[in-house]
Symmetry: D2
Subunit: 356 residues, 4 copies
C-alpha cells in the first residue's frame, strides 16, 4: 500500500462519523489534498443522507451519500479517519486490516494510563496508539514526529490539549518552569462543543455571553495535557484548567502560565520558546510584543504562540491560538497521515488563516 506514495494513484480515504463537525472538517481538508481521493463517508443516524444536506459548505462532495458506519463500508481504503463518539472507535478499528492507516479523532487511544482513562471516562481502557502531535518535544530535543513515520494507528490529540501543550512545553523541556502548579484558562469557540442539541449551546444563549464549563478539575483533557508535559520532561505535573465558551464558532485562545524556576531570565525564556519551534512548519512564536488571536489561524493548521515573563508574579505567561477544528482536530489528522504515509508533512494544509 505504501506504493501509492510513489505511484500516481490517489490515496483513498474513508471518514467514519462524517456528519459531525470533526468529520466535516476532515472532509474539507481532504477535498483540497493533492494526493487524496475521498472514498466512503459514513454515519449513524444520518446514513442515507446526501453530504450536501449535512455539510452544505462542502460543494465538491455534496453528491456523496452517507453509508452506515460498519467495517464493510470502510473496507478497501488506504486510510480510515474515525470521527466517532469516544468508546466507539476501538471496536471498529479492530476490524480494519493492520496495514490500513487508522486515525482516531476521538479520545479512546490517547491516554497511556488506564487509571487516568477510567477516572475521567468511566469505562475500560482501549489501549494506546502513537500520538498525533508531531511537535511534541522530548527533553532530549527529539519530537513525536519520528514516532509517526510508518505508523498505522494514530490517536489524534484533543483540541484544548494541543493549545496548552504547545504553549507550555518549551519551558518544560528546557527546565525553565515548575510543572507543579500550572494554570490554564481557555477561550473556546462553540464548534468545540460539537453538534449536540443542548440548551446552553443555542445561539441565543451564546451571543453576547461568556460561559465556563467543566470547572474545578473535571475536564477530560486534563490527564492528556499532564501526560504530554511529562513526556516533555515534567516530573510532578499538576494543572488547573478552565475552559470558557465565548461567542465565536471556531478557535481556542489558551492562556497558560507556570511559575518560573528561580533565576530564569526573560532572555532564556525567549530563546527556549523560539528554539523549540524554529523548524516547525505549523507552530510559530510571534515576534516579541505581538500577541496571537484566534482569527489569525481560522481554517489553517497554524498554532501561534507568544510568551512573556511577569517578574512581579514570578510566572511565565503563554498564549496560544489555534483553530480547534484544524490544528486542534482535522488538520492534526491530515498532518499525521502525511507523516505516516511518507508524504510531504504540509501536503493539503495551509498556514494562512482566513482573516479578518
Amino acid at each position: 500500500m505504501i506504493l501509492h506514495m510513489t505511484s500516481n494513484q490517489p490515496i483513498r480515504v474513508a471518514v467514519a462519523g462524517a456528519s459531525g463537525y470533526a468529520g466535516g472538517e476532515t472532509l474539507r481538508l481532504l477535498a483540497a489534498h493533492p494526493h487524496v481521493e475521498v472514498g466512503a463517508v459514513t454515519a449513524h443516524s444520518n446514513a442515507g443522507a446526501r453530504l450536501g444536506e449535512l455539510h452544505p459548505h462542502l460543494r465538491s462532495l455534496a453528491h456523496k451519500v452517507l453509508e452506515p458506519t460498519t467495517p464493510e463500508s470502510l473496507k478497501g481504503h488506504d486510510v480510515v479517519v474515525l470521527a466517532l463518539p469516544h468508546g466507539a472507535s476501538g471496536e471498529i478499528a479492530a476490524q480494519l486490516p493492520e496495514d490500513v492507516l487508522v486515525l482516531d479523532l476521538g479520545a479512546d487511544h490517547r491516554l497511556e494510563s488506564a487509571a487516568d482513562w477510567e477516572a475521567f471516562y468511566g469505562s475500560a481502557h482501549a489501549g494506546t496508539w502513537p500520538y498525533g502531535l508531531p511537535e511534541l518535544v522530548r527533553p532530549d530535543g527529539t519530537r513525536q514526529r519520528a514516532a509517526l513515520a510508518g505508523a498505522r494507528r494514530v490517536a489524534v490529540p484533543g483540541c484544548n490539549v494541543t493549545a496548552v501543550t504547545l504553549g507550555l512545553q518549551p519551558g518544560v523541556a528546557a527546565g525553565l518552569v515548575e510543572t507543579r502548579d500550572l494554570v490554564a484558562v481557555l477561550a473556546v469557540g462553540y464548534s468545540g462543543a460539537g453538534k449536540a442539541l443542548k440548551a446552553h449551546l443555542l445561539a441565543s444563549e451564546a451571543l453576547g455571553s461568556a460561559q465556563p464549563y467543566a470547572v474545578g478539575g473535571t475536564h477530560r483533557h486534563i490527564p492528556e495535557i499532564v501526560q504530554n508535559l511529562r513526556a516533555a520532561g515534567g516530573e510532578d505535573v499538576s494543572l488547573s484548567f478552565t475552559p470558557v465558551l465565548v461567542p465565536m464558532s471556531r478557535g481556542i485562545l489558551a492562556t497558560a502560565t507556570a511559575r518560573l524556576v528561580q533565576g530564569t531570565t526573560p532572555a532564556q525564556v525567549r530563546e527556549a520558546w523560539e528554539l523549540a519551534y524554529a523548524d516547525e512548519p505549523f507552530v510559530e512564536v510571534l515576534p516579541e510584543g505581538q500577541w496571537p488571536t484566534t482569527a489569525m489561524t481560522l481554517g489553517a493548521n497554524t498554532a501561534l504562540v507568544q510568551v512573556a515573563v511577569d517578574e512581579a508574579a514570578g510566572r511565565v505567561v503563554t498564549v496560544t491560538a489555534i483553530d480547534n477544528l484544524v490544528k486542534g482536530t482535522a488538520g492534526a489528522a491530515v498532518q499525521s497521515m502525511n507523516l505516516a504515509l511518507g508524504l510531504r508533512e504540509t501536503a493539503g494544509l495551509v498556514t494562512e488563516g482566513v482573516a479578518p
Copy 2:
C-alpha cells in the same frame, strides 16, 4: 509575457494597497495559487512595515516589507492588483506597460456611464475596463467570461453588486421578471466596510446590533447593479437597495426580489435559475428548499443562490450568499486573472467554505 503560461516560470504578481482587507485577502489567495509568485507589496502610510505586522495571518509572507505605492515599485511584474481607494488607480494604471495585466479592485473602471460615475462618485470618469464578473449572463446566453480571455485591464466588481447580480440575472435574462421595481436588502459583514477607523465600525457598536447605512438610493453600488442587469437584458431597470451591517466579519446575504412577469410559473423560474448556473464552477443553485447562509461560503470563491416564488405577493425572492472578500473581491480578481492569462479558471481557488 504570455509565455509564462506555457513555461514553468511562476507568474509574478504585485499587490498595491496591500495593507487593507482587499489587499490582504488577495495575498492570502495568491499564497495558495500554484502558478503565482508574490512580488512587490506596496502601501501608502504603512510603507516600510513588515507584512506580518499588518496581516499576521499571512504566515508565509510575513517577512515581506511593504514598499511605497509607485510605478517603480510595481515594475517587472506580470500582474498588478490595485487595491486602492477609488480615484487612485487610474493614474497608477496609466504608468504600467500595456502588456501587464492590471486588476483594479476599486470602482474607477466599472461604470460605462460617465454620468452615473459623476452622480455617485462626484469626480471625472476614468473610463471603462472589461468587467471581472465571468458569470454575467447576456440575453443570448453568452457570458462575460469570453470578454476576459486575453484582457490586460480588468475592473473587478463590487461585492454587493456580485451578490445581487447573481441572484437576479437568471430571471432577467430569461425574461421572467420585471426589472422596473427591484428591491434588495443585504446583510453585510463588517470587513466590507474596510479598515477605516470610524466609530460605527467599533466592535462595541457592532456586537449585538444590526445597523443600516446608505439607505434611500445613495449607495454607489446601485448604478453598477443596474448596468449589469441591463447587460443581462433588462430594459427599464430600477432598484431599491439597502445594506444592513450585521455582527459578522465576512459575508453578504443578499435578499433580492422582483415582480414576476404575468403567467410565469414556479417551474419556469426554477429551470431558468438552474440552467443559468449549470456549468458555472463557482455559482450554484441549491436544491429546492435549502437556503444559503454566509458561513457556507467563508473563505471560498463560491456563490450560493436560492430562489422561490411568492405567488400571493407576485414576486420572486432570491437569496445569494458570498464571502465579500473572496467571490466579492479578491477571488473574483484571481478568477479573472486566470481567465485573462489562459490558466485553468479555478486555479488557486477553493469552493469549500470554512464552516461551521
Copy 3:
C-alpha cells in the same frame, strides 16, 4: 378587581409558560413594575423546577417554583399572561374568569380572518381578541389604544409584525404609499426563534453567519401585517416578507419599502411619519439622517423608525428597530396591561436601551 388600581394593593400577575424566552422576559419586566406582584409561574415539562435554574438572570424571582400549567394554578390572579405554543391558549383562557385580564403572547387570537388562520396555521380559528398594539393607526387618526381600555382579553402582536407595521403604517394611513407591492426584509436575533433545540439554532451555526428562513411567502406573520395595514387604510395589501437570522441574541431591524403614490414629495413623507408618532411614548421617528440600530432598543420598550425617499426607485424605505422580546412581545403585553387596567401606560417600562 378594578379596585386594585385605586388601592395600594399590588396587582397579582401569573405567567403561564414561564420557562421560555417570552415568559422569562415578561417576568423580567414584571419584577420591575411598581404596581405588580408576581404570583404563579407555570410550565409544562419544567414544572417543579426553581425559576433560578431556568432563568438565572431573574435574581429576585429565583426562589419561585414552577407549577404545572393548569386553570387551578392560574386562579386567584388579577392578570394572567399566556406564553404558550399556539393552539394552547384558547382552552386555558376559556377556563379563566371573564374579569381576569388575560394577555396572550401567542398567535391564537390575533387574526380576524378564520381563512387566513387556517391557511397559515392549519387548525381551527380560536376567535379574535382586542389587539395589543396601542399605536396602530386608523385612517381617521384614532389609535388602537382606545380599544384596549378596560379590555379583559388581549392578543399581543407578533414581533416581526410590530416592526413592519410601525415602519409602514404612517404612509398607509396618510394615503402616500401604494400597499399592493410592499417588500420587507428583516434582520432578526436568535431569541426570536425561541428555545427549541434545533440544529440551525446552535451557536456554532449562527456565529459568523446570516441565514434566511420562511422565504417565499410562508411566514405566519404575513397575514397579521396585512391585517394591520388594512386597518390603517390599505385596500389592496400584498407583502413580500423575508426574515434573516443574524448573529445577535435580540433585536429586529426591519427594512420595509413601498412604492410612493405618484406626486408624493419627501416633505409629505417626513411630515406623515413624524406626525403619526409625535405623541407616542414608545415610538420615535429619529431626526433626519440618523438611522436606528437594534442595540439602541435593547431591553427597552422603544421602537425607533426612520424613513427616506428613494426618488430613482420610486419607493419609500423605512427602517424600524425594536427589541423583539420587549416591544415585540413582553413589553407590548405590559403596555397593554397598563392600558387595560387604567394604569399609566408607561408604568414598569423603560425607553432607554442598554447600549453599547
Copy 4:
C-alpha cells in the same frame, strides 16, 4: 444639601465626560433613578452636540446639549460624576465645593500607594479617595460600605478589579487561600476598551476572534486588585493577570484561582463564599454546580460568583460575572452615591440582567 434626601426635591447630578461609554451608562442609570434629576452633561471635543447624536439609546435625554467640561458648567449640582481620562479628574475635583459629592469613574484616586501609581501610570499621584466597592470585606468581617456613608469624594473601582476582587476575597478574608500566587484570566467585552478609534477594536477584527492584551503583568488594574486583597487580609499578594477581549459588547467573566491553604476542605470553601455575600443585595454566590455567564448580568448591577475546589491541582477556582459598565463602572457609582447620600442602597439599580 443633605436635606434633599428627606425632601421631595430631586438630587441634581451632573456628568462630566458624558460622550464616552462610562458617561453614557451613568446617564442611562440616572434616567431611571427615582430621586435623581440629570443636570449638566459635559464633554470635551463633543461639546455643543445633542446627547441624542452621541447616545441615541438615551431617548429621554436626547434633547440635552453637551456643555464644555469646566468647573462652571458643573456648578450648582448636588452630585458630579467624572467620567474623564485618567489625570483629568483631580484638577476638576479641586474646583468643586467640598460638600458636593464627586464620584470619579477614572483611576486617579483609587491607589493608596504613590509608588504603585507612578509605576503603572507614569505620573504624579493625585491622592486617595474613599473606595467605591461597598462589598469589600475586611478580615474582621466589616465592609467598605461603612466608609462610604456621608462621603463626598468617591473613587469608583476598575471593572476588572471588581470582578477579581469579588471572586477571591471571601477566601482571603477567611484565611483559606494563599495570596502569593494568584492567577486571573478574564474574558472581557469590547465596551471595556472604550470608544477610542483603534484598529484592534474594529468589529471586523473582533468578530470571530479572541485577543489578549496587556499580558505579562503590565495591566494597570493589577496594583488595585492587590490593594483590595491586602485590605481583605492578604499579606503577601502576587497576581498573574491576563485579560482577553472576546466578541461581546459588554461583560466580564473572571476566572481567578488561588492555592488552597493545606487542610482546607471544600465545605469550608463553600461556607466562606456563601457567608461573605449572604447579606449583599448585588453579589450572589450561585447554587453549587451552576456557573455564572455574563449574559445573566447584562444591564444589571449584579455580580454572580461561583467557586469550586480542584483537589488534584490544589487550587480553588472562582468565576465571577459582571456587566463591566454597570457593576464594573456606572452601577458602582450609583450604588456608592446612594450610600454616600443616605438613600436606599439599591435605588435606581436593577438585579435582573437582560437575557438571553
